[in-house]
């Protein structure tokens, strides 16, 4: 079976959609012969030409608004914002224009726009190139927010995002670009709003996004050695959010840890926690809901500090253990 990287999966999804639909095109900074800051569009200008792989000036306000205008008039632009931090410069067009147009025009018009943007820390790029700002976007009615954690998910979700008639913010994690797995060659779609159970378990649920899915799975492996069976759920899309899968899992396990890379304060974990607390899963909770997110600091440059800012495998393991009853811990200690 063929294995390709997350980065290649993203490129494959775009290329296949561009071959299938003349209206799909890409625009962004340095996406032409340079191939994009992370190499996603490498080789694409040779196949599709500079008309459809449109290299833009460094001007996020203009290119985001241009994408909105093009989408509103019948194109299906895919905008690459070089780093997700730069979404701040494109904010007016995404928040005040793209997200609002259909509603404020009384259900007329639509903005089938995909904003792809690399997110997250861990590359040493420090405070202005390492943020995870997905909660901002999830807060705005009218936008959809996607965070794939694997190559196969990235491909299927990106096709769904391109096909969707609404503005979709598609967060790609920089550290995941080089991860690989089996990805089917033919085009396929993973519906937005469908969570994936990445690992089944009966003791504790971990709801994790993007790179935290991998750390949660690693944590689950470690905990399994202690006889703790962890279920790992990846919502894959924050908007729409698959609350059902999360709630069902919590009802099964009675314990939940939420892990994301974004700052914990005001982060999307709070939304997931509240959704669980407001649901009938509340009666099944055997321990308080625990949230893991980044410290409320700008991402530091120093590698040790950078690593310590965001949740780690160890901190997830600890959080899971905190949800367990004393007897469970005792048994584990005896076992050890």
């Amino acid at each position: 079976m063929r294995e390709i990287t997350y980065l290649e999966a993203v490129r494959e999804a775009i290329s296949q959609e561009m071959r299938a639909n003349e209206d799909v095109f890409m625009l962004g900074e340095d996406i032409g012969v340079y191939g994009g800051a992370f190499g996603v569009s490498r080789g694409m200008i040779e196949e599709f030409g500079p008309e459809r792989i449109r290299n833009t000036p460094i001007s996020e306000a203009a290119i985001s608004g241009t994408a909105v205008g093009a989408a509103l008039t019948g194109m299906r632009p895919i905008l690459e914002l070089q780093f997700s931090d730069f979404i701040t410069i494109a904010m007016d067009n995404l928040v005040n224009q793209a997200a609002k147009i259909r509603y404020m025009y009384g259900g007329k018009g639509s903005v089938p726009l995909v904003v792809r943007t690399p997110s997250g820390s861990g590359t040493g790029a420090a405070a202005q190139h390492s943020q995870s700002l997905e909660a901002w976007m999830a807060h705005v009615p009218g936008l959809k927010v996607v965070q794939p954690s694997s190559a196969a998910d990235a491909k299927g979700l990106l096709k769904a995002a391109i096909d969707d008639p609404n503005p979709v913010i598609f967060y790609e994690h920089k550290l995941l670009y080089k991860t690989s797995e089996h990805v089917p060659e033919e085009p396929y779609s993973i519906p937005l709003g469908k969570a994936d159970v990445k690992r089944e378990g009966k003791d504790v649920t971990i709801v994790a996004t993007a790179i935290m899915v991998h750390r949660a799975l690693e944590a689950a492996e470690k905990l399994a050695a202690d006889g703790i069976e962890v279920e790992v759920i990846d919502p894959r899309t924050l908007v729409p959010l698959d609350t059902e899968t999360i709630i069902d899992s919590v009802k099964k396990t009675g314990r939940v840890v939420i892990a994301h890379e974004a700052v914990k304060r005001g982060g999307f974990g709070g939304e997931i926690a509240a959704t669980i607390a407001e649901s009938d899963a509340f009666d099944f909770l055997d321990a308080p809901i625990r949230r893991l997110g980044a410290e409320a600091v700008p991402i530091p440059y120093n590698p040790t500090l950078e690593k310590a800012t965001v949740p780690s495998v160890e901190s997830i393991v600890e959080a899971v253990k905190h949800t367990l009853p004393a007897s469970f811990k005792k048994g584990r200690e005896l076992h050890a």
Binding site: A62, G65, G69, T73, N166
Partner: protein, 327 residues
Amino acid sequence: MRQALPDFISKEAYKTYYKQMWLVRFFDEKVDEFFAKGLIHGTTHLAVGQEASAVGACAVLEEKDKITSTHRGHGHCIAKGAEVDRMMAELFGRTTGYCKGKGGSMHIADLDKGNLGANGIVGGGFAIATGAALTSQMKQEGYVVLCFFGDGATNEGSFHEALNLASVWKLPVVFICENNQYGMSGSVKDMMNVEHVATRAESYGIPGKVTDGNDIFSVMTDVKEAVDLAREGGGPSLIECKTYRWKGHSKSDAKKYRTREEEKEWRNRDPIKAMKEALVEHGVATEEELDKVRQEAKQEVEGAVDFATESPEPGLDTLLEDVYADA
């Protein structure tokens, strides 16, 4: 004798545009009155005194052409063919309004007629117009986009970014600045260190021209030249229409930042009066004919008020509708 009228507009069409001028005037005066009486809520920005730039610029467009508008957009909307009854209904927040009562004054769009929407964000339309022009270029649809904006918006970054992008991509978009001398209370004299917005075009390698925004014929002539250039693949232009808003920025404006003498001076240059005089002088229409046209416009706006007030309020069941388009 005045300068000859542009010959690319027919005699009959001149009467249509004369009527549009009055529709804009009566519509906004009526809106002003209703706001004062508390019959319309929210806020609004009136284009009284600026009728010539909206009507004159849209007059040279073909039906397939598109516009983006500003929060002072009623005039652009009318000039691009919108019906005043549905516009008035929108301001009254009724279901029959262009946006089912959810957009209001600052967000009226009429996509069927090529109006991509007013905008509550100063400078919000620059890049959207540029994007619509990109669609025209990529799909070879042959339409031109007019992007309306005020002088204040040219101090926003989006102005500079969009003009640069539209220029390097040679997009069919014409940027129409309605320089009404004030960005809210900020006089252009205090907010920019160049006399003309049009000179800013030079930085982006595109033509920039100042026109008399209170003279509809001047607007028509200069915008047509720019539209023709854009349609032929010559890229964008910037036309600056010097004009004046008679009313305040919005309904809460006491106009402390300007003198009554200045207002009077501009009122003496009423664009509608000037158009009428020229049409009579050139024998396009008689005074009586034009008075009849004016009367028709007045009645149309009165009818719009009836239509709006008789239209139903949206039901609460529509509150959550239309946030997303169905996949």
